[in-house]
């Protein structure tokens, strides 16, 4: 029996849409010899931050986590976060085609599936962002270090804050807005504290993964290892699809609320954002190349 740990609530769509099919596929293809038991809601330990360590150390066999929370271990994986490297709808397939490039970052765990989130948008409490000028000096929550660089390039003051604190911080004016994906309008109830959403520029895109403890993986015979790997890839595609569906619906629901506005920048309006972000992307890629990560080649492989 493999234990799979996710810190999100038991009602999260992954439970039925990702993990159940994953468990079924593993069970069917191993003739019932390997079963998967899913622990949702942080039953095996709360919060996203320690998830990577839970996989490395073996609190659970398989863990859902965000590479961004342990960014120092995944500089190459996280390149897809930068504006312009992938697009949200095709990113997961492209990344899967180039997984071998990432093998150096997965020495402590086995990567089963890697997928990207819906694009990050600007969720603003009460100040609309229609141009880069509007963003000047505003305090915006950043999802990551690279996200912070992009925000700085856009003229904002990045604030780092756990995702769970965004609601209160936006409600009370501790921050003016947050750079985060649309699903959080629903899952973290951010729609209640957000008046304006801005999209249309090249977004930052966060990623998620399913990782497995090395020893748990080695304990399986080769044939079963292959089954789990294969099921992980399917899970990544399912999860990516769910993520985009939930985001689309959450954004549509938000736009339908009275007094709320979704601002979609025109190509002209987006151009300054994209120009500023492109410099950051290039800088990060150059730095990664210097650190010996062969970043340029990887990013090139991801381009359509």
């Amino acid at each position: 029996e493999l234990k799979l740990a996710d810190f999100q609530p038991a009602t999260h769509p992954y439970a039925a849409g990702v993990y159940a099919p994953f468990a079924d596929e593993v069970k069917a293809k191993t003739d019932g010899e390997v079963t998967v038991r899913v622990f949702m809601g942080g039953e095996l330990g709360t919060g996203p931050v320690e998830q990577f360590n839970r996989a490395v150390n073996g609190v659970a066999d398989i863990v859902f986590a965000l590479p961004g929370y342990t960014a120092s271990s995944f500089p190459k994986t996280l390149l897809t976060e930068l504006p312009g490297v992938i697009s949200a709808d095709t990113g997961t397939e492209r990344v899967q085609a180039s997984l071998a490039d990432l093998s150096k970052e997965y020495r402590r765990v086995v990567l089963l599936g890697l997928w990207n989130n819906a694009p990050n948008l600007l969720l603003m409490a009460d100040k609309p962002v229609r141009s880069m000028q509007d963003l000047k000096g505003l305090k915006i929550r950043t999802p990551s270090r690279n996200g912070g660089r992009v925000l700085e390039a856009w003229g904002a003051a990045p604030v780092s804050l756990p995702a769970t604190d965004i609601y209160n911080a936006m409600q009370t004016g501790v921050i003016d807005g947050a750079m985060i994906d649309a699903t959080t309008l629903q899952t973290f109830k951010l729609a209640e504290v957000t008046k304006y959403v801005t999209q249309g520029m090249q977004p930052t895109i966060s990623s998620f993964f399913l990782i497995m403890n090395r020893d748990s993986f080695k304990d399986l015979p080769d044939s079963q290892q292959a089954v789990v790997q294969e099921a992980g890839k399917t899970a990544a595609l399912n999860a990516n699809r769910i993520q985009l569906e939930v985001a689309d619906k959450a954004l549509a629901d938000f736009a339908a609320l009275p007094g709320k506005e979704v601002i979609t920048l025109s190509a002209d309006e987006a151009a300054p954002f994209d120009a500023a972000a492109a410099k950051v992307t290039q800088q990060v890629i150059d730095d990664a190349d210097k650190a010996g990560l062969e970043a340029s080649a990887y990013v090139k492989a991801l381009q359509p």
Binding site: S72, G137, K139, G148, P158, V159, S160
Partner: protein
């Protein structure tokens, strides 16, 4: 909740100076306390500075969270020895009268030995984690502060805590059940 007011019962009194109060141990406790209080002071200053930076200068200190979290690790890890020495813990002592002298003595010996085992296990496992974190260069996201020294502090705190418990067991043993309170 407990304050230092509950810090009045020492298990091994009435039979000479306790090893737990020997001079080198007292020094270790004092040093550990001082460093933990220093971490507390840094926590206080960083929180204040980050509020001031955000309000007065409208320039949030990116990554101050990471300093705060690691300082908290240091503060708690370094407070383990003094807390063990002062025996500041919430206990359920309602049935003390019912379990009798031998029950209390056995309980105090056993619970310390078991706790010491778990704490040594924590120290050992955190040591492996520190090595791992050093080897793979694990660091915080924004400021890239290396994590291994903080795992090492947990090793130190847990090992000292466990050792203090073992010394207390030795004191209890030397003192014997009849002088136990």
């Amino acid at each position: 909740m407990t304050t230092d007011d509950t810090n009045t019962t020492h298990p091994a009194t009435g039979c000479g100076r306790r090893w737990a109060d020997a001079r080198p141990i007292q020094w270790a406790v004092r040093a550990s306390t001082a460093l933990s209080v220093l971490s507390l002071a840094i926590l206080l200053l960083v929180i204040t500075a980050s509020v001031v930076a955000r309000y007065v200068f409208a320039a949030p200190l990116l990554g101050s969270n990471e300093i705060l979290q690691l300082c908290l690790v240091a503060m708690v890890a370094l407070a383990m020895l003094p807390a063990a020495h002062g025996e500041q813990h919430i206990r359920v002592d309602v049935l003390d009268a019912y379990i009798g002298k031998y029950g209390r003595y056995a309980g105090d010996l056993l619970s310390r030995l078991i706790a010491a085992f778990v704490l040594y296990a924590l120290a050992y496992r955190s040591g492996l984690q520190a090595l791992d974190a050093a080897e793979f260069g694990d660091a915080t996201n924004m400021l890239a502060i290396p994590l291994w020294p903080f795992y090492a502090l947990i090793v130190l705190g847990a090992a000292l805590y466990a050792t203090m418990l073992v010394i207390q067991v030795a004191d209890l043993w030397r003192c014997g059940v009849n002088k136990h309170v």
